[in-house]
């Protein structure tokens, strides 16, 4: 007899099976989830809280997961929503770093560190929705249709959010390049 994978048993099985299935899937997807959350939130502590909240919600909604194969997509929606909620809170209560981080040892010959600092500042003023779309596009490389499905919005809305965010980042990079060229 072929044993049923534990994740499949977890969907319709006993509480023990469900717990085991949840643990297995959570363990398997935790690193990727934490990477996505930290890419969106750009703060490890916020990312930890968002991931924890998302898995808590996932456990409570576990019975609504019919097909264990759809867990990655199903959970990603929960996680992205949790991150977006946190971004909205952070936007409402912006924090200011007490001191600038020290520059890289040995300078920044490739300009990457400077680039990232410029993009960090530009990203900070985007809306939570624009930030999420931008990261889903550039971190996960998701096409607009997939982003639309994930966020439950129209592909056209994804396009307009992406254009707005890209324009802001391009403007910041262009200004920075120009300032550097002058100096």
């Amino acid at each position: 007899m072929v044993a049923t994978p534990i994740a499949e048993r977890g969907v319709s099985g006993s509480v023990t099976d469900k717990s085991a299935a949840f643990r297995e899937l959570a363990d398997e997807h935790l690193d990727a989830s934490y990477a996505l959350a930290s890419a969106i939130l750009r703060d490890p502590a916020e990312a930890q809280d968002a991931v924890h909240d998302a898995f808590l919600i996932a456990w409570r909604k576990w019975d609504s997961l019919r097909d264990p194969n759809s867990f990655p997509w199903w959970f990603r929606r929960i996680l992205v929503n949790a991150c977006r909620d946190r971004l909205r809170r952070v936007t409402r209560h912006p924090t200011i770093a007490l001191a600038a981080e020290p520059g890289p040892i040995g300078g920044d010959p490739t300009g990457i560190v400077h680039d990232h600092a410029v993009l960090d500042r530009a990203f900070a003023v985007l809306s939570a929705d624009d930030k999420v779309v931008l990261i889903l596009r550039y971190f996960l490389d998701l096409p607009a249709d997939d982003i639309a499905q994930l966020l439950d919005i129209r592909p056209g809305t994804v396009g307009s959010r992406l254009n707005r965010a890209q324009a802001r980042l391009r403007e910041a990079l262009t200004e920075s390049d120009h300032a550097e060229a002058i100096s």
């Binding site: 717990s19 949840f22 643990r23 959570a26 989830s33 930290s38 930890q48 409402r92 971190f139 980042l169």
Partner: protein, 262 residues
């Protein structure tokens, strides 16, 4: 700058903040969710304590929660079974004392009429305060947050809490407390909150499980007080509170809330 160049720079930046490996403590918390969530019916505030009730370790001790953030002096440290000042019996006694003081304070405010009394003690009537009700999506661990949707827009908005706790290993009861903040476009509320935790007795300590906040208004709400009870289930909490123009002792406000409910 070409589109391709820009995309490459943004892609490099987008990936720069991604942490590839989740911290072990987070893994432990997440994989213990079925254990901590299935033990009892949903209780207010208890899930603000990630990792509170994991399975006992090999040495038979219960790990009392994360250690990677315990340097702030508030978090309990997993140093084994410690007896603290908190117990179910003491919580019941505390409830009785709180109820008695509340009653005394309430009766004092409502009945004192001695003209020689230097303290103003005019009776409060229903028009002096506003009862507000609503729901809250508060959730989280060390710094819970969520949105409160209330019958009065002045106390609707985004709520943030700092969550400290002291839980006994002996009977798994304890107290939680911290700062409370709620903000909206016109102002906000800043104050404190307290809640009691008990994982073993469900019915005996009903009432103590409620969390209470008391806060002073800021911005457009300067000069107002807000006292409220949060009850029910995390992410879908019921909130019932009282708005008062001026200072009001929290126990008096709770007494008025109770009286109004009857």
């Amino acid at each position: 700058m070409s589109d391709r160049d820009m995309e490459a720079r943004v892609r490099s930046w987008a990936r720069s903040a991604a942490e590839p490996i989740a911290p072990q403590e987070l893994r432990r918390q997440v994989t213990s969710i079925p254990t901590t969530e299935s033990a009892t019916r949903p209780r207010p505030w208890t899930r603000f304590l990630p990792g509170l009730k994991p399975a006992a370790g090999a040495d038979g001790r219960a790990d009392r929660g994360p250690s990677h953030r315990s340097t702030d002096g508030h978090m309990p440290t997993p140093t084994g079974r410690t007896r603290t000042m908190f117990s179910a019996t003491k919580l019941v006694a505390g409830a009785a004392i709180l109820a008695l003081s509340s009653g005394l304070l309430l009766s004092g405010v409502l009945t004192t009429s001695d003209p020689e009394d230097p303290l103003p003690a005019a009776p409060l009537d229903r028009t002096d305060f506003i009862i507000v009700t609503g729901t809250s999506t508060l959730s989280g661990g060390y710094t819970p947050s969520g949105d409160d949707s209330m019958s009065d827009p002045r106390v609707s908005g985004h709520a943030n809490l700092v969550n400290n706790w002291q839980i006994s290993d002996v009977d798994n009861t304890g107290v939680q407390w911290g700062q409370y903040q709620l903000t909206n476009d016109d102002g906000g509320w800043e104050g404190e909150w307290i809640g009691f935790y008990d994982s073993t007795t469900v019915d005996d300590l009903v009432g103590l499980e409620n969390a209470m906040i008391w806060a002073a208004g800021t911005g457009d709400y300067e000069g107002w007080s807000y006292v409220a009870n949060y009850t029910g289930e995390l992410l879908d909490l019921d909130v019932r509170g009282l708005l008062y123009q001026g200072d009001i002792p929290p126990t008096v406000a709770l007494g008025l809330l109770e009286a109004d409910a009857q």
